[in-house]
Amino acid sequence: MTLSLSNEVVEGLKGLGVEIGIELSKKLIANAVKLALYSDANIPSNPEIYATNPAFAKQSEYAVVTVLFLATKYGYDSQKLRNLLEQHGLVAAVLEEIVKVYDTNKKDLLINNLKIGHSLPHITDAEWRLTCDVKSSASDKGSGDLTYRISLGRYREKTGERESTVEFVCNPEELQSFIGRLKEIERHCEKISAPK
C-alpha cells in the first residue's frame, strides 16, 4: 500500500514558509506534533500561530498532523518521508523541520497509533488486599479464613488515575491456582519467543 496525500494536505504543507513565515511555520510544526500526541487540555495555547492567517494556519496544522499520522501508519522511515515531501515541492527548511520532528517523535507517534482503535480492556497492574474473617452478623466467631481481594486494572496514561477492570476475591489456594494459570501463559509466551 502506498501513501498518497490529498490536495488539501499538500496545499497546507506548501504554504508553510510561504503564506506563513519560516519561524512561525516551525512553531506550527512543533505545535502540530503536540496535537498529534496529546490531548488539547495538555497543550498550551499558541495564539501567535493563528494571529495573521488563521484559516491557513489551521489547514497547515491539519496537513502536518496528517503527514505525521500517515507516515507512522505506513511505517515510513525519515528517508521515505523526505522522498514523499520532496515530490510536492515543499520549502526546504519546512521539509527538514517536518522530517526532524518525525524522527525525534517517531517512537511516541508509533505508540500513539498502536493505541488507536478498539480492543479489550488492557490490564497492566494488579492491586491486592488481604483480609481475615474475624466476626460477622452470621457468626460470633469468624472462621479465620484469609481472603485476597484482587483488582486487575491499569493506570490512565494522561491522568495517572487507576482504572479497575475486574475485581474478585480468592483464598490463598485459589490465588495459587490463578498464579499457576498465569505462569502457564508466561511459559507459552517464552516458548514462542525463544529462538528456534
Binding site: 482503535g117 490490564i123 460470633d140 466467631k141 484482587i150 486487575l152 474478585f168 480468592c170 490463578f178 502457564e184
Partner: protein
C-alpha cells in the same frame, strides 16, 4: 447462649418432661426439618408416639433448630452447654441435645456463612495468545496480545468439580451466580502481574500474618 430465652424455654418444656428416647426422636425430627423442611405427617406420628398434641411438637422442633443456630453462632462449648441444667434439663437430655448440636454444627456454620454477602470468586481462566499484525492506524506491526477470559462465581465449589462442565448441569438460578470477564494484557505486564500476585501470596505465609491471626483469636 448459656441461658435459654423464655420463649425457647417454654417451647422446649416438652423435652424436659419426656424420656431420653423421646428427646432423640424430636432431635431427629429437627434434623429432618433442616434437610427437608416441616413435615406435618411426621409431627403427627411423633405426637401420637409421645402421647402429646401435634400443636406442641412443631414449636418444639422450631425451638430445637433455634437452639442449634444460636449455639453455632456463639460457638458454645460442651461445658457452656451443661448450663442447661439450670433450665431443668437432666444430664442425659443435655448429652443428647449436645450430640444434636455438635453433629450439625458444621452444616449450620456453612449455611450461616452462605447467607453473608456474596462476592465474585476466582474459578478458572481460559486464555489465547494472539499476534496483532495490523490495524487501521498502524499497518505494519507484530505485537503479542494475551486474551484472558476470567470465570468468576459467587459459589465456592470443590476443586474436584469440573468448573465449566458443572455449569451445564446446574439449575438456571445457580448459573446466574457465574460471570465471565474478557480482558487482555501483554507479556511484559503479565510478568509484572504474576510478580505482584506472588508477593501477595507470600504475605499470607509470614510470621506476622500468623501472629495477627493469633491476636485476633481466630
Amino acid at each position: 447462649m448459656a441461658v435459654l430465652r423464655n420463649e425457647q424455654r417454654e417451647h422446649l418444656k416438652i423435652l424436659r418432661e419426656k424420656s431420653p428416647e423421646a428427646v432423640v426422636d424430636l432431635c431427629k425430627l429437627a434434623i429432618d426439618y433442616l434437610n427437608n423442611g416441616p413435615n406435618e405427617k411426621k409431627y403427627s406420628a411423633v405426637a401420637k408416639k409421645l402421647n402429646t398434641s401435634q400443636d406442641l411438637v412443631q414449636p418444639t422442633i422450631e425451638a430445637l433448630v433455634c437452639l442449634l443456630i444460636d449455639a453455632t453462632k456463639s460457638s458454645v462449648s460442651e461445658a457452656d452447654f451443661e448450663n442447661l441444667k439450670t433450665s431443668g434439663f437432666s444430664l442425659d437430655q443435655i448429652s443428647i441435645l449436645w450430640q444434636f448440636v455438635s453433629s450439625k454444627r458444621i452444616f449450620v456454620e456453612n449455611i450461616l456463612r452462605a447467607t453473608s454477602p456474596r462476592e465474585f470468586r476466582f474459578r478458572d481462566l481460559e486464555w489465547r495468545l494472539d499476534g496483532k499484525i495490523a490495524s487501521r492506524s498502524l499497518l505494519y506491526q507484530a505485537n503479542p496480545i494475551i486474551i484472558i477470559k476470567l470465570h468468576l462465581d459467587t459459589e465456592q465449589v470443590s476443586e474436584h468439580r469440573s468448573v465449566l462442565g458443572a455449569k451445564r448441569d446446574e439449575s438456571k438460578k445457580k448459573y446466574e451466580t457465574a460471570k465471565q470477564f474478557l480482558l487482555q494484557t501483554d507479556p511484559n505486564n503479565l510478568v509484572h502481574i504474576i510478580d505482584v500476585l506472588e508477593r501477595a501470596l507470600l504475605e499470607s505465609k509470614t510470621h506476622r500474618m500468623r501472629d495477627m491471626l493469633k491476636a485476633l483469636h481466630v
